[in-house]
Subunit: 353 residues, 4 copies
């Protein structure tokens, strides 16, 4: 159950980076919804390694097979299992890392937790696990679209280069998925520079959900903020999350940050569309802090399993900045979170929205 | 189930701000642990309204009654229900607010969600709900102490005044609970200034857990980061959370933020003690963004339930800065999260830690 | 979480037999439903000890206090906590039993599980725990009534005396709650005979739910049969459960037990109203096997905690047959199960039923 | 989540009878345990259709692929996904049944629940779903064996022929899996007779777990009886379950059914090894009522989707008695239930058993 996210719309991912396949089991998708394999594939392609010069060069076609839960193009209301075979596993690249703990990685923590681990490519801790999230997210997005909810996302900061505006149409036009085309160019330059130095850079990814009616999310322990927080911080390499005004609004005063509302429109959106844990009708805005990728080519000091340290350069194909590939994952996790909140609200009120 | 936090150590809070009582039901506390009502009361007193000049003047003794699950001073392993009676409810103060939606508050979202609400003092959305969290957290802290895990916390920023160091012994010596006594004085000045202007200020609260062994927390959906994120963002008035280096480390490079480890000690703690979602043996560090309190005395424009707006000043007794009272709540939620992770690890490995 | 039943309509009971109180926390009751304390009390009175000559003479008024979740007579949609204080605890009666394990009771199993137990009146294993179930069940019944679902129940066998018909109006007219008034007299005679011999007798309780529309319950792991099975077998002193034709239909053939259906009416009800785990529009029928009460006045051989055995007569006030008091508990658990299935179906389909 | 069984050791099955595959996702298997594909296959072969003259003649090799969670023959502690491809789907056989509701089947209930269904071979309601249960059960059995817990099972009644003894070694030596070889012959004769008349017969399956230490299972809502009850009644075609003395002991008196215990041994086992919901050190005994298979070749009256009825004979390959194939499924579900209880007890006490 530790690998499951959601209560009514649940996703459980499975698979190791260098095992036969990765995938996801989705339970709770309502029946009768169109399921379009092409739409799922489209999101997977946005997450795919090797998609551009600034992502890892591991080549995976990431072709999805829908194994269950769909009949004649419609969801059955039964579990949907989706599978993506691993093909380009260069497990040999990892032989040298079998007995060391890479800094920043989960190697040591896994070894201590399980007493045993699949060292090849990080095994279960690999970002490859997110394939299943994206596939599940595509189902959630299609379902949400039927009630007018849509999501957009992009990279809004890399290093110290920040997007100055949010033109979401621009986001998919550049390699870094930035909603500010001019900033995107500078971001790409920073990433290429880090790549050339066998290093990596961090950044911030933002997701916005539009059309969410007021009333989704539950008070206290299942606040929409809390569920989005868990969703985002479950994505590998994330170390922070903020809703609406986030950390920035803690510098201000209540008289500035209480979003004035006339019953129809809000003047501001410091709450990020969520009040008391419940959607308030405003756009939902969430940002996630993406750390510099821990896999870098530079030689680093590593602890050895048997004791002592060693300076090792990690061979393999790395992402110099994970942000562009986190974008579809963060969108997927936000969609899954909203899907779950939507179904809960249907249970509570007994009507569609 | 929406009001429940945790999987193996679960807490469910109940109660409205102006109802007969608030409290918590804790399930999953292992048997045979000493339960000290005085320790619970101590934490409740740290959360209590009216404790100082910079908190709300609502007076609640907040006396806890342990109703079940304890026998002859020891936990039975059965559900522990704890109850705190509400006494100083000036429900009349809220009559004027029955038909308006206070800006920044959950009033409108609740009305849309439930079609019906208890308007008195925010009902269920009141910060008073956190009484149960603190009582449950005290049980978790006692239990964690038996395996050498302890937690400290404090206010590390108010407005733009930041603590320059973490001397946790100082934190309980000043009204704002800041681990830097000099900064505390400036923070208090800022808070008093806002209070005098019938306004409020925001800030940041930090919690540190010491002694957590490597191996707690689960990969993917139940990462310790994710669980702490949900825990923190379930606290009223929070809009952001970060672990270790958080948003700050996104300005840096991987070669700077990969915490070098020699098998025993880490040189840095950008990971905040969590790698791949699992504790790595370092101190666990989490910070939460606390928005300026939404309840302010200044007149504000409010939407009326029947349509239109009105300018109203909210009578009542407000906290000009919630940070000092969030500290024990954030500590409690962190303790509950770690307690849950500990029990999961016991299940996984079949030994004590 | 072990003390929680249900997924969307969840109940968690708490309290020890000789502790300060017993009660229940209900989460997931939809908002805006009338909550009538008198209706709750009515069901509690049907479960109450001391209600007749054939029940235990422990005297408990069992007055319920609704602590949260209700405002101006309506459910808020927030957790409902209900409390019943224990008053007539003759804990002294149990001093002699502190160091022995009563046969048939949970004493030994608890001691092995927890390493520690509240021996007074069985502590948590006491039938007194069911107070909370009945209170929660009353909420579920009221809610179900709004969509035309009602439940009846009664004792249909005691020892070898079986009810020959189901006249549910008769059930509440006799002490044993039998839907066959003539059989009831014989049942009472059997019970009195056992009581006079300081012994106890077993029986069977049946619950029927009417008006459940087709479509409630989920396939595979959450079949309505499975949920009802868990609900019934979670009631103390039950050792069997059957749906519809149950064990009896295993003597027959498929051509006899496939309930013929013309699209509106079923000719028979071997399926007990559930096909493939989902309600099929027929009446839902569940029966539970109630063992002879384990508490008897006759001297019995008991294992001593320190080793060896002893012959002891259990002092105290016993139920010679638990069936009459199980009836309201079984109805409550069936109502809670259906309530949960109803809300799940609302989530799945997005409309009221 | 409706398709998930268990809390700490969770299984989620997926797949439709005539879809590409069926399978299971297991989460919570502790790390470092040997996983033997041959042992899994062995149990699958016991469940396999076409294994004998008295089972359906659908031919499925049921070859299992372990997709994740296992590395170098050992469990990783991560999700184990196992897949079995469907091969012998004669979907055409079901064309005639597309617009009728087969009596006794879930067709009508599914149509009402989902508004849409996969009619081919029952889709998700097919017994084929149990493939995943058996595969997951094999993992649980291997894990339980490491602490000395083993399970046996068999058919103990078919129609009115009852096994007179339990010689479990005999059970796998006859087609009906009866622990009484002489009774087995009579059972087979009954089954063949029903088959020849295009009809089906019911029966009872029993599972016994040995070596379970006292202390597994939780009080109140997660009693071992309740969890086993849910486990058994989640198996297709079951309509009753009993523990130990079950319905039979309700004819007796407390002085007869209170299992006398001397601190080491029990004289009887009316409790079926469970007291107060917790294992008491005795053998755990559970029996499940298996209805006569609903799929029969005899012409039957069926409701038509558009209204009216029709007399139709169901073509296809049917099981005249499901008991022999339910045996491995019931064993698997019992093993999964005990596995979950074991891990819960490890969490509670922090030691291995």
């Amino acid at each position: 159950m530790s690998s499951t996210f959601g209560r009514l719309f649940t996703i459980t991912t499975f698979g190791e980076s260098h095992g036969p396949a990765v995938g996801v089991l989705v339970d709770g998708l309502p029946p009768g919804l169109p399921v379009d394999p092409a739409a799922i594939q489209r999101d997977l392609d946005r997450r795919r390694p090797g998609q551009s010069a600034i992502t890892t060069q591991r080549q995976e076609a990431d072709r999805v097979e829908i194994v269950s839960g769909v009949f004649e193009g419609l969801s059955l209301g039964t579990p949907v299992m989706m599978l993506v075979r691993n093909t380009d596993q260069r497990s040999k690249d990892y032989d040298a890392l079998k007995d060391v703990f890479r800094p920043g990685h989960a190697d040591y923590a896994y070894a201590q937790k399980y007493g045993f681990r699949d060292h090849r490519g990080g095994g279960r801790s690999s970002g490859r696990e997110t394939v299943g999230r994206v596939a599940a997210g595509a189902l959630a997005r299609s379902a949400l679209a039927t009630v007018g909810v849509s999501l957009v996302g992009g990279t809004v900061r890399v290093g110290d280069v920040e997007a100055s505006h949010r033109n979401w149409d621009e986001a998919e036009q550049n390699l870094v998925r930035c909603p500010d085309a001019a900033a995107a160019e500078k971001m790409i330059a920073i990433i290429e520079h880090a790549r050339d130095e066998k290093d990596s850079v961090g950044g911030v990814v933002e997701v916005v959900a539009r059309g969410v009616p007021a009333g989704w999310g539950d008070p206290t322990m299942s606040k929409l903020d809390a569920m989005l927080g868990a969703a985002m911080l479950s994505i590998p390499a994330t170390k922070g999350v903020e809703i609406g005004g986030g950390f920035g609004m803690t510098f201000l005063r209540g008289s500035q940050t209480n979003d004035v509302f006339d019953g129809e429109r809000y003047e501001t959106n410091f709450a990020g569309g969520i009040s008391g844990g419940i959607s308030n009708g405003n756009e939902i805005v969430v940002r996630v802090a993406v750390r510099p990728a821990t896999s870098i080519g530079k030689p680093q000091v590593m602890a050895k399993a048997g004791g002592g340290t060693e300076k090792v350069a990690i061979e393999g194909r790395h992402d110099p900045c994970i942000c562009p590939r986190v974008v579809p994952v963060a969108e997927a996790m936000a969609a899954i979170t909203l899907m779950d909140a939507w179904l809960r609200q249907r249970a509570l009120r007994g009507h569609d929205r």
